[in-house]
């Protein structure tokens, strides 16, 4: 469970996230939707400790992550799949996943990871940088999963990926939640993808949460209006 109260992020003088609060339960998928430049990535980077932020409260289960560095947050149970994947291009697929084993201390990659992503097993010895966009996205998710997170953050996982693979990614995310019962928070612009995975949708605009809906009550037309330019 992730609980954030009144989180603010600024780049110098300009405040980009204006004090947002939210709670994401165990075994819940929360989607944060908004157009480009509305603060999705900034929010995620702040949650990961990559950007400095202020908040009244930032907790995972009952542990505070306030002021922690990225690697300490990973140890407390956050995992991060950044926008643009950011895999390690000069390392093999296998080594890329192994970097995530830092927390568990395991030497070998657990079998269930390759069961989720068979394509990664086939490409084990290839350089990460030579994979296609969709494969890199799967690799980034695998790398985050081996840290055994309580909260998985995915920043625009569908960006620049072909439609058939987007379907696969939605399937995998649902499977992960069923298997591990973790919290998944995803930022998105594609409503159809969000509707397949999310339990709850929050719309972000200029650094504020302006709308919230359970999936079953979602008024698609209204959300689409928020997302259109």
């Amino acid at each position: 469970m992730l609980e954030i109260e009144n989180m603010q992020v600024s780049y110098g003088q300009s405040k980009v996230i204006q004090g947002v609060s939210f709670k994401a339960e165990k075994n819940e998928t929360l989607a944060i939707m908004g157009r480009n430049g509305m603060g999705k990535t900034t929010l995620f980077k702040a949650l990961m400790g990559i950007l400095p932020s202020k908040a009244d409260k930032a907790m995972i289960d009952s542990e505070s992550i306030q002021g922690d560095e990225s690697h300490q947050r990973v140890a407390k149970g956050i995992a991060y799949v950044p926008q643009g994947r950011m895999i390690f291009p000069a390392m093999t697929v296998e080594e890329n996943i192994e970097t995530g084993l830092e927390k568990s201390g395991d030497r070998v990659i657990p079998d269930d990871i390759y069961a989720l992503f068979p394509v990664l097993f086939d490409m084990k010895k290839r350089k990460g940088g030579n994979l296609s966009g969709g494969q890199q996205q799967q690799l980034a998710i695998a790398r985050a999963l081996v840290t055994n997170p309580k909260v998985l953050l995915l920043d625009e996982p569908t960006e620049g990926i072909q439609p058939s693979i987007i379907k696969d990614i939605a399937k995998v995310l649902n499977e992960i939640r069923k298997m591990r019962e973790i919290t998944i928070i995803v930022s998105e612009q594609v409503l159809s993808f969000t509707m397949e995975i999310a339990d709850r949708i929050i719309v972000i605009e200029r650094g504020n949460f302006i709308h919230e809906d359970k999936r079953d009550d979602v008024d698609a037309a209204k959300i689409k209006k928020y997302l259109s330019v």
Partner: protein, 305 residues
């Protein structure tokens, strides 16, 4: 050819080839530490030569001590450990005080470490004097092999070569087979992301830098078996070491090894047939031309960017 008989030419090639191999060993030892610090971490460490001299002075001091207490034949392994430990410790300290504030400003590290090198040279001069000193070599390291009456292969050269092979293998295992190596490579490729998968990147930086310095310290210990040590001896090798790392392709260890080999052999063999400076000029020109065609060095790894 050049007024030599064929047999003489053969001998010259063997002996110059061997002296090329010795030069190769020293260059490689120097470059290995730099390949980690500059090639992997991207820190332009102008004080690299001085870390080597730390190791060299440590060895010289220990050898004097060994003469006094009569264990000259055995001190060398200890000297290597002490050299490594000292250079590692100083490297750790320098990273903590200086380098870690400059990772985002690579050109500033150039200035800062150059200043550091001047400071260290002066410390050496004040502590050990401006005169060059030499280590007392163990007896088993003196003399030479004579496979034929005309060929001389010095034993200390062979020793340095063996040592180089060992350390190179060690660095390879460390970088590509160990958990630490994985952390180092991840941090180097993407510092932010390495932190976000759970790696303590600050600690990795510190240990990596210290380790590069430690290896250079061992290079300094090896260096005492073939040359004498003075406060500025390190600066003689700094240009060559950077040349080796850049020519080989900054991020590639295999490239570092091949380029050290190529540069050392070319210099050594050319110097016999031309003057010493013409040999150097020819090697440098060749490197410049090759780098113009392959700007990322000999062994740039092939990935989509």
């Amino acid at each position: 050819m050049f007024g030599y008989s064929m047999a003489e030419i053969g001998n010259v090639f063997v002996m110059q080839g061997f002296s090329g191999l010795s030069l190769f060993s020293v260059l490689l030892l120097m470059a290995l530490g730099l390949a980690i610090i500059f090639g992997q971490m991207g820190v332009i460490n102008m004080a690299h030569g001085e870390f080597m001299i730390i190791g060299a002075y440590a060895t010289v001091m220990l050898s004097k001590f060994a003469v006094k207490y009569d264990f000259v034949n055995y001190y060398f392994p200890f000297a290597m450990i002490v050299a490594f430990g000292l250079a590692f410790a100083v490297g750790y300290l320098v990273e903590f005080v200086l380098i870690r504030h400059l990772y985002k400003r690579p050109l500033d590290t150039l200035l800062a470490t150059w200043g550091l090198s001047l400071v260290m040279q002066q410390i050496f001069r004040s502590a050990f004097g401006a005169k060059e000193v030499s280590a007392e070599l163990p007896e088993w390291m003196l003399g030479s092999f004579k496979p034929t009456p005309d060929i001389d292969i010095p034993i200390n050269g062979v020793f340095v070569m063996g040592l180089t092979a060992l350390i190179t293998a060690g660095v390879f295992l460390f970088m590509f087979r160990s958990r630490w190596g994985l952390r180092v490579r991840a941090t180097v490729q993407n510092r932010v992301m390495a932190g976000a998968v759970g790696i303590n990147t600050k600690k990795v930086d510190r240990i990596t830098f210290a380790l590069g310095c430690g290896i250079t310290g061992v290079a300094g210990a090896a260096f005492t078996t073939i040359g004498s040590t003075g406060p500025t001896s390190g600066s003689l090798y700094i240009v060559d070491s950077f040349m080796v790392v850049v020519f080989g392709g900054a991020a590639s260890l295999l490239g570092t090894i091949s380029s050290a080999f190529g540069i050392a052999q070319a210099q050594s063999i050319l110097q016999f047939f031309m003057t010493s400076s013409m040999g150097k000029v020819t090697t440098l020109l060749t490197i410049v031309i090759i780098l113009m065609m392959r700007p990322e060095g000999l062994f740039a790894s092939k990935i989509r960017k």
